[in-house]
Every structure is written in C-alpha cells, then in structure tokens.
C-alpha cells in the first residue's frame, strides 16, 4: 500500500483570484511582508500497490486526465 499526496496549483501565468483575496486579507491584518499568495488543492490518494514506478506512472495519468486541468493548472505529487 502506497500513499500519495497530490498538489494542484493554478499556473503562474494565470490569475488566482482566491490567492489575491487572501493576500489582501493578510496585508490588512498587518502581515505586510506577504508577497504573492497562491491557493491550490491538496489530495491524499491511497494506492493498492507496492510498485513505486507503476504508482508514479498511474498518478501522472490521474493528474493529466482528472485531478488537474492542465490548461490552467500545474500538479506535482509525492509518494510516501
């Protein structure tokens, strides 16, 4: 059994309105040191396999097909 964590973020070139709103809130609270804030998604995926290479390949397919919309999002994952 492998556990993967997948991170999906809006591409750097694409506006992230949620991130901007949080950035504004942090500034208004006095956290002036905050530069850019980006909001993304965090997914935990349990995989019924012990084959890391296979898991990696399958995760890539999952991300490309469903978990991220590669028109506007980037993804990365870690396998524990």
């Amino acid at each position: 059994m492998l556990k993967a964590t997948v991170y999906v973020t809006i591409k750097e070139s694409v506006l992230d309105p949620q991130g901007n709103a949080v950035q504004g809130a942090l500034h208004s609270m006095g956290f002036q040191e905050v530069g850019k804030v980006r909001i993304g998604k965090y997914l935990e995926v349990n995989l019924d396999t012990d084959d890391r290479a296979e898991a990696e390949e399958r995760l890539k397919a999952m991300c490309e097909k469903l978990l991220a919309n590669t028109v506007v999002e980037d993804y990365r994952f870690e396998i524990a």
Binding site: I10, S13, V14, L15, P17, L67, N69
Partner: protein, 230 residues
C-alpha cells in the same frame, strides 16, 4: 426536430432548458440521464447549468467522464448541434469539445443578474436569428465564469470567428477579451456562461434568449429542406 437535455446528478437548469424548448419552438424534447450511451435519436443536445456531481474537484471535471459524454463527442463529430450553458459550458471545455477553461470570477463574487451581450457572430446555427453587433439581455448566474485561454488560442478563436458573444458593458467575471460564449471551429458546438433559457418570456424579464432556440430550429430546417420559421 428532437431535442435532448442532459441530466447529471446536480443539474438544476435542466427543467428550464426543457421548458424553453417547449415555449420557443414547441419541438419534441426529452431528458437524457447521464448514464445513457445512445444519442442517435436527437438533433440537438442541450447541456444545462447546475453543479454536475457537486462540481467537486472542478466545475465539470467529473461530468466530463460520465457515460453519456462519449456519445456526446460522437454526436458533435457528426455535426449535430450541442449547446452548453453555464455548467454545460464548463463541461464542454473540460471534455475538449471547446478550447480553454473557466476560472473563478475575478471578483470572487457569485454574479446573478441580467447582463448585456453583444452578438459577435450571427452566422452560427445558434445565432442566425440575431443581427451581428446586436445587444441582447440574457441573465448570468455563476461563480466560475471567468473564461481563460492562452494568447495563441485566443488568436485562433478570433481568426476563425469563434467568439460568438462578448459582454457588452462591464465584464462580470474577468473573462479574456470579454468573452461570454464561443463555438468550435465547425460551429456546431456552442458554450456560453449566460442563460438564454432563462430569457424566453417577458415574464422572466427578457425574451432575448428565444431566438437562440428559433435559430437552432431554423438551421435544422434549412439543412433538412423544410420551410424556415420567422
């Protein structure tokens, strides 16, 4: 002419679409459950608004893999008419039937009000009863209607005259180039964020959406050698 209205778990504008067809063109219309795999009896499919599969993950991301979507892609390839409204538009971009993606509104607000649209292309099967440049009053209701595509795709859309509607006046969601609706290269698939099915009677505040449906019937009759409707 036979209309089908797709119904996903969470669709909530399906009834409006069904009624709009009845009210505007009085043609045969039926609901099509998302598990259906045969769309061959239809001439036009409406992909309605709502929150398909709760829109968990992303708007339209899960619906895109519903069994009916394979049939819809084939349906579109045959040149039959597909109109995606709001969540339907999001599903069409997720499925690759239309380019680009829909992002959260720039203002982060869910916008629900009437909006003026400019008809940029009156030559599609969906807009032939409008005049080019005409401004029409069609309501919007969305939180993620911010159309995005990269610069190269935008150039292509412009070059092929695929931008069908733009917001006239203020842009409610921050979409690229004020885009409110686009079609595919062939012109038989249209996606738009505003809701024409909610503007088919003065009782609803506007009947400017009516002509989208009469346009579709008109085009279908033209293709099938029947008399056009006025």
């Amino acid at each position: 002419m036979n209309f089908g209205v797709l119904v996903f778990p969470g669709s909530n504008c399906d009834i409006d679409c069904y009624k709009a067809v009845e009210e505007t063109v009085g043609q045969k219309v039926e609901y099509v459950w998302h598990t259906e795999t045969d769309l061959s009896r239809f001439d036009c499919i409406l992909v309605p608004g709502g929150f398909s599969y709760g829109d968990y993950l992303r708007c339209g991301a899960i619906a895109r893999f519903a069994p009916v979507m394979g049939a819809l892609v084939k349906f579109a390839e045959q040149g039959k008419f597909v109109l995606g409204i709001c969540n339907g538009f999001q599903i069409l971009t997720e499925s690759g039937l239309l380019p680009g993606a829909l992002l959260r509104n720039r203002t982060l607000k869910f916008r629900c009000h009437s909006a003026m649209l400019r008809v940029e292309n009156a030559g599609t099967p969906f807009t032939n009863q409008y005049r080019e440049g005409e401004e029409i009053d069609i309501p919007i209701a969305h939180g993620e209607g911010n159309y995005y595509c990269d610069a190269e795709t935008l150039e292509k859309l412009k070059a092929n005259n695929q931008i069908v509607f733009r917001y006239a006046g203020s842009n409610p969601n921050g979409s690229v180039d004020d885009i409110a609706g686009i079609c595919n290269e062939r012109g038989n698939v249209l996606g738009m964020m505003p809701h024409p099915e909610r503007a088919v009677n003065q009782l609803l505040g506007s009947e400017d959406g009516k002509r989208m449906f009469t346009s579709i019937l008109n085009k279908w009759r033209e293709q099938h050698g029947a008399a056009a409707i006025r």
